[in-house]
């Protein structure tokens, strides 16, 4: 990919991020009871939704790997898992910053917060699990099964508000609803975070592809060394026989 084609989407996403920041800080209406701190919502909720999208990609890529056994699906799955963890780290950081002035506490072990933390832990475990298996095919296989299993927590996180009593506010869709003037700002922020996700995912996938290339080249170099030393031994033997 040329530097020019690479920079066009990057500048597009950068412009979207700037627009999102401006809209969230200056264009969105101030919420009556919470005041300024409610504006965290414009990055907290879209981060969670984008994280869900990333984990959905992990699940789809894992299924595709189990069906096709092509390494590219495993590369996509691990890339999306790492990006998803970054998004949920943002969710778990911004949540308590909002909670302290609104609830008076940083954290509570209620259903929504706990299931979100468990989701984050599951995908961190997914990434750690990959470091424990050295054989690439076996690693891809185990990770694919784990990636599908971990996704089961995603609907649980979203539905936890209806299943259990929780302190967390109602969800935007199917819950308490949102002021119509907040929707455009919310959607711009989500688009910006989705754009950032695509860029991060592309870069992370490239890393995985390069890693594979290095492994193959290193193996080739090693085989070359072995055949060279074999040839040297043959020459020494031939000279000895003379």
């Amino acid at each position: 990919m040329s530097a020019r084609t690479h920079s066009v989407p990057t500048f597009g996403v950068a412009a979207l991020v700037a627009l999102a920041g401006y809209s969230a800080l200056f264009l969105a209406p101030t919420e009556r009871t919470m005041g300024l701190i409610q504006r965290i919502f414009y990055f907290h909720v879209p981060s969670a939704w984008t994280g869900f999208v990333a984990f959905f990609i992990v699940c789809v890529a894992s299924v595709a790997y189990l069906l096709k056994r092509a390494p590219k699906w495993d590369w996509l799955a691990v890339s999306a898992a790492e990006v998803g963890v970054a998004y949920f780290t943002a969710v778990l950081v911004t949540g308590p910053i909002w909670a302290k002035p609104v609830w008076g506490i940083w954290w509570t072990w209620d259903a929504r917060l706990t299931s979100t933390f468990v989701l984050w832990l599951l995908y961190v475990s997914y990434l750690l699990l990959r470091t424990l298996v050295s054989d690439s095919e076996r690693r891809a296989m185990v990770s694919a099964v784990f990636g599908i299993f971990a996704f089961l927590d995603v609907p649980l996180v979203y539905l936890s508000i209806w299943f259990w009593r929780t302190q967390h506010p109602q969800p935007v869709i199917g819950g308490g609803g949102l002021d119509p003037r907040m929707w455009p700002v919310f959607l711009v922020c989500w688009a910006a975070l989705l754009g950032v996700m695509v860029l991060l995912l592309r870069q992370r996938y490239l890393l995985e592809a390069l890693r594979h290339q290095v492994q193959e080249m290193a193996m080739e170099a090693q085989m070359g060394d072995q055949s060279e030393s074999f040839e040297n031994k043959q020459v020494v033997r031939a000279k000895g026989a003379q």
């Binding site: 300024l36 970054a86 910053i97 909002w98 991060l200 870069q203 890393l207 060394d225």
Partner: protein, 48 residues
């Protein structure tokens, strides 16, 4: 402007997370690209 510091802290944290992550991935990519160049030289020498 109550809670302005908290709001700014949250926004900074969000973008810092993505920026640091992008930086680490970029560095890992650069390291692998250098490794590929080194291996290309090694393989090139081997085939000569």
């Amino acid at each position: 402007m109550k809670n302005l510091e908290s709001l700014m802290a949250a926004y900074l944290f969000v973008w810092a997370i993505f920026f640091v992550y992008q930086l680490t991935v970029g560095r890992r990519v650069a390291r692998l690209q250098a490794e590929i160049e080194r291996l290309k030289e090694t393989l090139g020498q081997g085939s000569r």
